[in-house]
Symmetry: C2
Subunit: 137 residues, 2 copies
């Protein structure tokens, strides 16, 4: 669609096949995507390196964000809050379903603040909740 090109242009990125396909994938998929998902779902079209570079570019531009995981994998999801290049400010809880294994951005659920010990000063907080998602029961 035209919308996808607009997002790229708005972020001062050249419009290329790879970027269009990958961005489309994020927009049309519910749940977060790992590098491997992207390689798989775009077909055998793009080099691994291109996918890595595209993901990094999108993160830098504030188009997608990282999601922390307990294992050492990296997941990405579309930013819905209006993040800018160099500064993300989505601040929502992430949910990992133990059944379907999807990772979901709970855009409406804000990460709560906690009382830290004397002398600690927070700058950012992440929260990941595991359990069973709405679709799985």
């Amino acid at each position: 669609m035209v919308v996808i090109e607009d997002i790229l242009k708005k972020n001062q990125l050249s419009v290329t096949d790879g970027r269009k396909k990958i961005l489309e994938l994020f927009i049309s998929s519910e749940g977060a995507l790992a590098h491997a998902d992207i390689e798989e779902k775009t077909g055998e079209n793009f080099d691994r390196v291109t996918v890595y570079r595209t993901l990094n570019t999108f993160v830098e531009k504030g188009i997608i964000h990282h999601i922390p995981t307990t294992d050492n994998s990296i997941l990405y999801a579309l930013c819905k809050d209006n993040c800018e290049a160099g500064h993300h400010h989505d601040n929502h809880v992430h949910f990992i379903c133990d059944v379907c294994n999807k990772t979901i951005c709970l855009d409406e659920v804000t990460v709560p603040t906690v009382q830290l010990p004397e002398g600690f000063r927070p700058s950012h907080a992440e929260m990941v909740v595991n359990g069973v998602c709405g679709d799985c029961k």
Copy 2:
């Protein structure tokens, strides 16, 4: 010390040099350790594979726990709550200092519960806070 051997025996583990040194390292270090830290601080004594296997064994036995990170590294720290083989139940917030880069278990700070959307059922939650630690200001 004798204490270290006791911890191993209590968990039905053979007492070996590698396990003693690695466990000692966790007990005597404030903050969490990555695989690389352990290789470094034990000297050139142990094979990388042995370190991996020891860490996995300790996690299985409930002696140490994983800490989630935003980058894709794996950190480990001593369990202070009485975790058992196959079932961890430490449930504390982790703090990563942006200055000294240490990762600290805030054993006194419990992960808060959040209100999830209709249909979602939580089983476990993790929280990681970034900022400046007590030592760094």
